[in-house]
Amino acid sequence: MKESKSSLGFDFIKGFIQENPTFALAIGMCPTLAVTTSVVNGFWMGIAVLFVLTFANVFVSLLRNFIPDEIRIPIFVILIATPVVIVELVMKAYLPAIYEVLGIFVPLIVVNCIIIARAEAFAYRNPVMNSLMDGLGIGAAFTVNLMIVGGIREFLGTGQIVFGSAAFPSVPFFEPAAVMLTPPGGFITLGILMALFNVTIGAKGKTND
């Protein structure tokens, strides 16, 4: 298990550009499409994934010397499922409305490719602090992605973006295209955003697998 000596800062930042889970690595598609019907939903889903990812990264990293290689996947699954259950219970208790809207996609975080990928590729090979930063970085990047996609779809789909009580713009100045809230809108919006990412940021020699 070669331990990479990357700096903490780099671990956090890389989640946004080179290893952006949604736009560069194109993993974790299901939640990215399903819950991004509004900025708020995107935000809370992002936070949930951030918490689960960081929790899992830290514990995997802590136990990485004790986990026998052959059965590491089931152990990863347990280490990921535990924080998910925590998130479920916390959300059901304090944010029932959001929990209802996110529906089955909160428990589905367990099979979210991002988390298993980070656990396998990074946490299992790096010290705790790096894993923590990596978890926070990737989680934060994922949250930002969800909010961007959620924002675009909510704005085009409902004409305004709502934060709790405040709504920008107060009165929609165009007739909203309801399709943006439906699956076709989601697929097309994300597809176009990924293409734009490839054309702009990603084009600097980074091959998109």
């Binding site: 529906g103 428990p107 979210n112 989601g186 597809g191 490839n198």
Partner: protein, 194 residues
């Protein structure tokens, strides 16, 4: 809701890919050509149907009885992971042909959102064991229909000059969006008739 309504619901009306966003990663990853798509479909139908039955039974006889619903997520993912492992071992011995055909896709399936997704949906809809199995089968059929259609479309892309920025995921997502536009037509099909 009779069996036919679930089947039509699963395949056309609320198709797992086009209407419920479930199982997108393998859908885009494995649809390069028709043979792999059919192989994956076979594996998904097999696993989703049995997984729904097993988790529904597990729900009824273990979670509900001992009031452990809050452990559902962990329990289901472990049950599915174990079940897929079991299936691999079982198939290696008795059905080598089928195993070889499905071989590379079986481990992939455990991380497929559609499998865990359908088990969660079964619980939400309050289906019993039989209904869950049928719903799992219907969902898998819908998923397979989608990936086979998409594989047919993607096989033609090798004959085109697709702009590099759109290569791979972006174009696949936009195409899935266009396909789901067509499936919008089935919304409300056979409502209340069965």
């Amino acid at each position: 809701m009779s069996i036919i309504a679930i089947i039509i619901g699963g395949v056309l009306v609320n198709n797992f890919i086009f209407m419920q966003y479930l199982g997108i990663c393998p859908f885009i990853g494995v649809s390069q050509n028709l043979e792999t798509a059919m192989g994956m479909s076979g594996a998904v139908v097999f696993v989703m149907t049995i997984a729904s039955a097993v988790t529904a039974a597990f729900e009824q006889f273990v979670l509900a009885r001992f009031g452990l619903e809050y452990l559902r997520t962990i329990a289901y993912i472990l049950v599915i992971a174990a079940f897929v492992q079991l299936v691999e071992i079982f198939m290696k011995k008795t059905l080598p042909g089928l195993y070889k055909a499905l071989g590379i896709y079986l481990p992939l399936i455990t991380t497929n959102c559609a499998v865990l997704g359908v088990t969660m949906l079964n619980v939400r809809q309050g289906y019993g064991i039989l209904m869950s199995t049928i719903n799992g089968f219907a969902g898998a059929l819908g998923w397979s229909l989608a990936i086979i259609i998409f594989a047919g479309i993607r096989e033609r892309w090798q004959l085109m000059d697709i702009p590099p920025a759109l290569e791979g995921f972006p174009l696949a997502l936009i195409s899935t969006g266009l396909m789901s536009l067509a499936f919008l037509g089935f919304v409300g099909l056979f409502k209340g008739l069965f």
